[in-house]
Symmetry: C2
């Protein structure tokens, strides 16, 4: 893991860009982390739904706020995600998706053929990043996950170091992850935009129902796909406080 | 309004029993409230679903905790509720309900004939209590409502002094209130026990959908009818903090 740049933000949070082989990442740590005598802080992996870039401003705002609350927060552009190179097939699937959405055609099968393989490809990069991040002296366990539901399900179901997950029900969840949801037993907070234009509400409710966790909480709000109220970020951090601190 | 007894609790909260004509009530106020120079505190009306008594331990625990967070909290046994006298018809409806539940028969129509009139009868007592409580010098506006969904809908739809409502989707909501939900436009937090044995989940989701409020939030958890996690009480108070303080 190689740090390539860093900046100290107004609230003391240290924001560092890193590369890990081909994986570009960003790490945010609280002001006190890493100073002599400071205890290691818990880690939250933060991913945008459907592989959107780690530099997307809404993700960056969430990460900075969460770091200021006492967490190390990391995001990566996993394989096929963000600005990482795409295969011809991936480019074609994206173009086909845009075309179908413009034409008002059903997009489920296109999403399945596009997001399904993307999750398979992205999850190992998140695991690689997790290994490297936990080796840093300023970061301890336990580990939380926040954001992209499909990758969160894959990681929470297969990666015992994930202790709690906050998921955003605002993206396509491939059939494989809808099945895997039953194997997710860590505490969960699922965030649903009740009037999300592009994501069927019933599918999110069915997903919440399917999770195998004994402690699972659903929060639903109005405001459309991108209208999640700010207080949900505070609620999300309190959820992590209960399970990671 | 006549105070008949009072006790000071360990956390400084003052718990007072009162009567208001035929209405018995309890008022909890924070330790500082009423002392010279202290600002009036906002009020939360707290009611148990289906007219259960104000002395019920779970309601008392919620009220005490909420008062310690800086609210005046009041509960009453409204007409037909708690230990108030019941008409022969009410007694018969309750007996019929118990019989039908034991026999595993459908209980919707019995609930409708029992809870529908109870809401009509109870709401005016809550309004009478509200008038009297707001006349106390230690209590100011704005006013929140917490608990019994059907009475909360009636009050929030018809009483402009109610500024926010936290409702528990764990009791029968009469048809009249399911209609009135569209007229509820104050900020709402609806609490749903996902695996509530006696209350159909879909009905609660439909009710949430029906509310006319622009800011409405649904929280769902596991744990059965009485298993609401304690952190929901904290979340509920933060919801009131956003709208009443």
């Amino acid at each position: 893991m190689r740090f390539t740049s860093e900046q100290r933000l107004d609230d003391g949070v240290l924001e560092r860009e890193f590369t890990l082989g081909e994986i570009p990442g960003t790490l945010w740590t609280p002001g006190s982390a890493g100073s002599s005598g400071a205890a290691p802080v818990p880690l939250i992996l933060m991913a945008h739904n459907n592989g959107l870039p780690k530099a997307e401003p809404r993700l960056v705002a969430r990460a900075r706020y969460t770091a200021a609350c006492g967490y190390a927060v990391a995001s990566i552009d996993a394989a096929g995600c963000g600005d990482r190179p795409r295969t011809a097939a991936e480019e074609q699937a994206r173009a086909e998706l845009r075309r179908a959405m413009r034409a008002g055609e059903p997009v489920d099968e296109i999403f399945e053929s596009f997001i399904g393989p993307l999750v398979e490809k992205a999850a190992p990069d998140w695991r690689t990043a997790l290994d490297a991040l936990l080796a840093l002296p300023e970061i301890g366990g336990p580990v939380g996950y926040s954001g992209w539901t499909a990758v969160g399900i894959r990681l929470a179901a297969t990666e015992p170091r994930i202790a709690a997950a906050g998921l955003f029900a605002g993206g396509y969840v491939p059939r494989a992850q809808r099945e895997e949801a039953r194997q997710v037993t860590v505490p969960l907070l699922l965030l649903l935009q009740w009037d999300d234009e592009g994501n069927p509400r019933q599918r999110a409710l069915d997903l919440f129902d399917a999770f195998g966790a004994k402690e699972k909480t659903l929060h639903a709000n109005l405001g459309g796909h991108t209208g999640t109220p700010w207080f949900e970020l505070e609620d999300g951090n309190r959820f992590f406080d209960r399970h990671l601190k």
